[in-house]
Subunit: 134 residues, 2 copies
């Protein structure tokens, strides 16, 4: 039986206030800084539970760190700025169909996929362009 605890509620609340992706460690530090008493293990358990419930979406950084974000329920993917971390949710029914089709053609069943797009957002590109100019 799943129980309502102060800690779980608080972790949930953090992701309500926060935009974009955040790691468990960051959430933990943030809560501690705000005066919330909570253990790191508990944060890990809480985000895992939220992922299992489909309330958080998780991706892995190149460095191997898991980061989490409250997501809309529709299936979508992420467009992530390499420089500032800003993320946009994008959808592409054509991609979904393509993935399912190509997997089916190879005899695969029970198909899922992961798709992330990375780039430099307009703002960061502008900033980079001005600082890079000699």
């Amino acid at each position: 039986m799943i129980r309502n605890t102060r800690q779980r509620t608080a972790v949930n609340a953090v992701f309500e206030e926060l935009e974009g992706f955040h790691s468990a460690q960051e959430v933990h530090a943030r809560m501690r800084a705000a005066g919330d008493s909570i253990g790191l293990s508990t944060v890990y358990r809480a985000v895992q539970a939220l992922v299992d419930d489909g309330e958080l979406d998780s991706i892995r950084t190149d460095a191997g760190e898991a980061i989490y974000r409250r997501c809309s329920t529709r299936h979508h993917h992420h467009l992530v700025c390499r420089a500032c971390g800003r993320t946009e949710e994008v959808e592409g029914p054509a991609v979904e169909r393509w993935a399912d089709r190509v997997a089916g053609e190879h005899g695969f069943v029970d198909v899922t996929h992961t798709l992330e797009i990375f780039g430099t957002c307009a703002a960061c590109h502008r900033a980079g362009a001005t600082t890079e100019t000699p």
Copy 2:
């Protein structure tokens, strides 16, 4: 100046004989078992160098482990069996165009993407189906 060493040659050779994705640790263990003397750090450095040279492709497992595979040079994606790890390389020009276009529409430049498809391959599905039947 990059030097030719017995160890780098050996790691390269392992990926020549091996199909599919393999972790640095697995490669290290495999070499040790075969009587090859090599340090784990060296394996990590070697695979990293091969990735930098574009000779190996690397993806990250859900568990956060980096796995490597000798890849064809064309841009492609992977269809991976959850059960046995068998992988197929797949291509989809439409997906490439879609990713670039949607990123461009959001003002992103210097765009890359990652796309992996997961499923159960036909063989594993058959095996699973028979064992699951009561």
